[in-house]
Symmetry: C2
Subunit: 295 residues, 2 copies
Amino acid sequence: MKSFADRLIDAIQEKKSRVVVGLDPRLESLPEALQRGVHRDIEKAGKALLDFNAALIDIVKPHAVAVKPQIAFYEKLGPYGVAAYFATCKHAKDNGLLVIGDVKRGDVPDTAKAYADAHFISFPCDAITVNPFFGTDGMQPFLDGAKKHGAGIFVLVKTSNPKSGEIQDLPVNGRPLYMTLADKVAEWGKDLAGASGYSSVGAVVGATHPTQAAEIRKALPKAFFLVPGYGAQGATAADLKPSFNADGLGAVVNSSRGVIYAWEKEGYKGMAWEKAVEKAVLDMKADINGALGVA
Amino acid sequence: MKSFADRLIDAIQEKKSRVVVGLDPRLESLPEALQRGVHRDIEKAGKALLDFNAALIDIVKPHAVAVKPQIAFYEKLGPYGVAAYFATCKHAKDNGLLVIGDVKRGDVPDTAKAYADAHFISFPCDAITVNPFFGTDGMQPFLDGAKKHGAGIFVLVKTSNPKSGEIQDLPVNGRPLYMTLADKVAEWGKDLAGASGYSSVGAVVGATHPTQAAEIRKALPKAFFLVPGYGAQGATAADLKPSFNADGLGAVVNSSRGVIYAWEKEGYKGMAWEKAVEKAVLDMKADINGALGVA
């Protein structure tokens, strides 16, 4: 079984892309044609999210290496929303996209095992995001699950939100906490290195913190970064550079709103929504590759 | 609207109990009568979890102040499991129990807002557990949601697992990280004090760490602790004392396996499962009240 990191590299090389599209649908922002009745009927609402995602997947699949559904936007609709999340993951996989379940789970060992079974088996994800707050015993079931299923983990190290430093930058033995977390990620990832040398245990590192990304990159030369914060959250392609290695690998970049609601952006307004999405994903791919100087 | 903390105190005083029952059903541990077919049919499996929980709720409702379904054990079954989680929350509320959704969510602000809507509205919880890793901006939507809905939050401060110290005890400015988190909980809870003086922003503090609990209690005199780790995880009633205030308030204690699978324990074997569960919840209530010297 090929490791997640190696499958991710295959996709990057095949599609010449480092783009991940965040599937974070909001009822109030759906294209007009999908809006009818969704605010009165929760079952219809779940179905509308799925229809939107299926259309997005068709458009982005030649240009994105993965999709990253954020489960919060589905849980918001209750069980029907979670059913739409499940169907979205499945549809993306059936269409040859890697699926990164943005679930940020983390818990005591017994419970973490249930979460690992949930998100590597019941919800068919290729990788998930995990919160490291519980330490190694809370992480172990996710590591075991990733190894068993050829799946991946992205551990929260330095998140993209403005106040992330309040906890994540706290001084621990003369370094910010996120550096201790980076060391843990290196340790947790040792046993999950693929043929490429890259580990299937990666890190979430916000593009909004390029200086910190460079520091974390040094501590984690063989981990993949999942990089949020590009576009709508304010980071530019230049901010992404420190997250990558010289081989043009080592990171994939997520955009959610900037792609899936592209028709609301300056320069894309007035386009059919499908065309705007396609242009946004192509523009993002070119912007990143341009900054990295790769084809 | 009465605050969550005040509603919790009402329940404690009315039932003379500080017991929370963790509804963490596992298919392989269901009573025999509920096992038929559940391993072959995921829809039946979800239904079996719900039937088990409904029976548990009937048994424990006079003796427990709240139930705490751990959503991981439901997510493990995919969308059908999450539907069972929803129905469990609703059934418990309809039966007059407070519902603490053990979801340990935490994310960047926009996403945290979606989670708060999910777990205070779509899944009808009175309180939820939240992970503080993102800092104040990630916490704000949960605080706003709690205020708006008269709901509560239990923030992870010191968890019950053996390796919790690996991250949570890291030295920050001469104190363990959990003390910085305790200070944050005090700050976050200021605006959510009820008529009782207790805040609806509480803390998760494992019973397996009584020394640390005493330290956190001092920093958080008016926060409720949600205390896991009693029973199956090894903590005794004596270990619980530092989590309480002198008024006999300030904490509620969770047991999951020790109650809901009581018929597997020494001293309960051979009893009908319903009787074993009832005896276990009564024994736990008396054990805690005895250690605190309250009626």
